[in-house]
Structures are given as structure tokens and as C-alpha cells.
Symmetry: C2
Subunit: 92 residues, 2 copies
């Protein structure tokens, strides 16, 4: 039995496009869990997305888990640079 | 019996100044727990602080809790604006 998981990747679009993506995910049949993934400056947008969704649209939604991490990103000059990541799991 | 808790407020300084603040807190006698608090764009810096401290300086340190929230900030034009907040609890 596979667990239904939806992932929303957060980047540089306005925060409301990600809020809409989360709500759309939850409105799909039987979706109980949506995960927001972001890195670097988009981490703030991911947190905003979770907070706006919960406060303005889905008051019964909960943040069930938050995971921090680091990814090595290749840079133009060669070598890699460490970038922080976040995964926010939302459950209704 | 009061629990020893240290709080580091993360703002616009370079990330290494907050990493240093966290390490200094932990090196104070008997400190087992340090909390990073940030809001708005500084949320990314708080996550970077946690990740750099764990990966480069204190590999036995753990992120024991993360709490998201929203604060109403007054704006110049009158009224308030919602700003997301994060609290990252670090434990050794």
C-alpha cells in the first residue's frame, strides 16, 4: 500500500501561487498530506506559504513535521556551495 | 526549578556571527539547549545557522524542535502586516 504524498516545490514565484498549489493538492481526492520543499532564500517563502494557508484558508491544517538539511550545489567557478533546505509537512 | 534556556535572535548580520553566538551559548556551563528566533527574510539565516553549526562545529548537536508562527507588525502607513516567524530549538 503506497502512501499518497504530494510535494510542492517552492521557488521564486509570489507566495500566493504556492498557497494555491497547496490548497489544490488538498482538494484532490483523499490527499491528507502535502510537503513543501525549498532551499536558500525560498525557505522564507515556504514558511509564509504554510502560515498563510493555515491562517487564511485551512484552519484545521497542521504542520506535522519540519526537516532541515543541506545540499551541495555546483557553482559556475567550479566546486560546490552548501545551500540549506527545508521540508515542511502539512497534514489535515 | 527553572530550565536553562538561551535565545539567539537572528537578524541581518552575517550568518557566522550567529553561529558563533550559538557555540558561545553552548560553551557556557551546563547549557544543553539554545533557541534561534527569526522572522521574515532572517528565517533563511536562522536555518543556515542551525545547519552550519551542526555540520561544521558541533556534529553531536540536534534540532529538537521547530515552531512556525505569525506576528502582526505595525507599518508606517498605519495598520499591521503579517510576518512569519520561526523558532529552532537546538539541543546537545
Amino acid at each position: 500500500m503506497s502512501k499518497e504524498t504530494n510535494i510542492v516545490y517552492v521557488g521564486k514565484k509570489p507566495v500566493m501561487s504556492y498557497v494555491l498549489a497547496v490548497i489544490t493538492c488538498f482538494n484532490t481526492a483523499n490527499t491528507k498530506e502535502v510537503t513543501l520543499k525549498a532551499r536558500g532564500q525560498a525557505i522564507t517563502t515556504a514558511v509564509d506559504t504554510a502560515e498563510i494557508t493555515r491562517r487564511r484558508f485551512m484552519e484545521n491544517m497542521k504542520v506535522s513535521n519540519i526537516q532541515l538539511g543541506t545540499e551541495e550545489m555546483p557553482v559556475e567557478e567550479g566546486g560546490t556551495r552548501a545551500v540549506s533546505t527545508i521540508e515542511i509537512t502539512l497534514t489535515r
